[in-house]
Symmetry: C2
Subunit: 316 residues, 2 copies
């Protein structure tokens, strides 16, 4: 009953790092890594490898840069049954010179996140990463705002010039509905047939898990989740739901449940994520959640009507 091609990637630390400038304690990263290994999740993404020229290391935590020494500190001594380690590089915020040869790195896979407009940068980084021995993916962000006439040639370029194992539909704004997920996954399969399609969904409209299933139904085989949905703003597809849905007997839900209680829920003392009305409003209006995040930091955080009216005006 299960599809062995499906690969599950946990990006709790990477996506969660957008909520706290990647300032996780080492023990948190180790606990997430260990839970993913014990659960037999296929991939665990431990952060960004972005440029220290573009992000100030005094301001951002170690998981924004994923120096090898930090990755080793996060993983050393933890039994790994085959969970691959990935980092993400933003096409417009990272430096290919930060990619050391794969055989000197604990990293297996480099995922390059890009807007359509930066696809040339993404492919340039991908080419370096591939040449230096990494498995690669390209993840097209903010997909709900891209028009076909810009997206299609970008995907054609990925097919021709990159060597990725997967190309991702990334619903950064949590704005997609199921029929749009179907449309995009099928488009990717048509234009980028030499790799798998991936889906990375956000939960602004409580649709992250549902849209991930819809991707799977249309044969997307790389699927992202985070433990208890941790992530910026409304968060992500909850890993515990995803593992509960998938029928592959190799997965074990229990270590993820333990991690929710012992590691992730305690973070709620400092971090706020999950479904909230301002995130819903940016989601239904297909807007970046940044206005909602800003609103939630003010005294007007509960003035939903005013926020809705303001966002409607901006969308006009």
């Amino acid at each position: 009953m299960f599809r062995p091609q499906i690969k599950v990637l946990d990006c709790t630390i990477r996506d969660g790092g957008l909520a706290n400038d990647s300032h996780f304690e080492l023990q948190t990263v180790r606990a997430v890594y260990e839970a993913c290994c014990q659960a037999h999740i296929d991939y665990v993404e431990l952060g960004y490898r972005n440029s220290k020229e573009m992000f100030d290391p005094k301001e951002f935590g170690p998981w924004r840069f994923c120096d090898e020494k930090d990755l080793r500190a996060a993983t050393d001594g933890i039994e790994n049954p085959g969970t691959r380690i990935s980092v993400m590089m933003d096409a417009h915020k990272s430096d290919p010179n930060d990619i050391i040869p794969a055989d000197e790195s604990v990293v297996d896979t480099i995922r390059i996140a890009t807007y359509v407009k930066d696809i040339d940068k993404a492919i340039a980084i991908e080419n370096v990463a591939h040449e230096r021995g990494y498995e690669t993916t390209i993840n097209v962000m903010a997909i709900s705002t891209e028009s076909d006439w810009e997206l299609d040639p970008a995907l054609e370029q990925v097919e021709k010039e990159a060597h990725v194992v997967a190309c991702y539909v990334v619903d950064s704004f949590g704005a997609l509905y199921s029929e749009q997920v179907h449309y995009l996954v099928q488009k990717y399969q048509r234009i980028v047939p030499s790799c798998e399609v991936g889906v990375h969904m956000h939960n602004n409209q409580q649709l992250a898990f549902a849209n991930t299933i819809e991707g799977i139904i249309k044969n997307a085989n790389f699927v992202d989740g985070t433990i208890y949905g941790l992530g910026r703003a409304a968060g992500n597809c909850p890993m515990e739901l995803l593992l509960g849905f998938l029928k592959n007997p190799k997965f074990d839900l229990r270590p993820v449940l333990d991690c929710v209680v012992e590691t992730i829920r305690p973070l709620q003392k400092e971090l706020e994520w999950g479904y909230m009305v301002p995130y819903m409003i940016t989601g239904i209006l297909n807007q970046h959640p940044r206005a909602a995040m800003a609103c939630l930091k003010t005294d007007q955080r509960d003035e939903y009507r005013e926020f809705y009216n303001k966002m409607l005006e901006l969308a006009e």
Copy 2:
């Protein structure tokens, strides 16, 4: 772009009453009713009309019985642009003698909730309600546990013997995935072609809104929601998401947003509902949430692994 046949029903007070034995303050019920009227929601369900022989009025609040005087107190003086008022009767817990003639009642619509095994009782109540002048629906609960060979004849009986405007798929356990929603909605259309199909979804797996959309895609035209998802256990399809999705310009989201802040979120001081891991576990195992609700009242409420193991044992 919108389908005018779609009717939205708010059951905040009715379904929420399962979480607090229907002990809402009058001002809460009035606020929800007013928000639904102002938002131009098609129906608002103000509670159960269940039997005082089977529920002790000393234990349960007025919205378990919906006496006419209480319904009038909840609605008098509030401008209503055409929002119809419904109550729900449980087939196995209510008395047809409690149905007064429709022209003496503020109630427009009586929805009969039933398990498949009680379909005869449901139809008997429906027949009385219809005869006394009400619009009626039959809502088949716990649908995820019903086999085709029991459900199909029950639906055939509804088609032959009842006069309902809609027959509902009720996912009491929050266990359905989209393909099952499609299957059930299409089955209802085939077997009960003389009425609309309704969908009532629960949020154990964060799929209540998604599954409601899937019902709509397959032409279910009666859809339930509750404000901010209020409801027993993991709660329901959030009304604010549903109105954000539907394109009918008659709906106004703003009164619902106000009601979230002013009326529903303050209830969180006393009531706990929404996505929690124990509810997820009963959802993925297609079990009633009662074990999760019981667990959450104990000191072991955070022992997810133990709860999961226990539920797996029970399911064997």
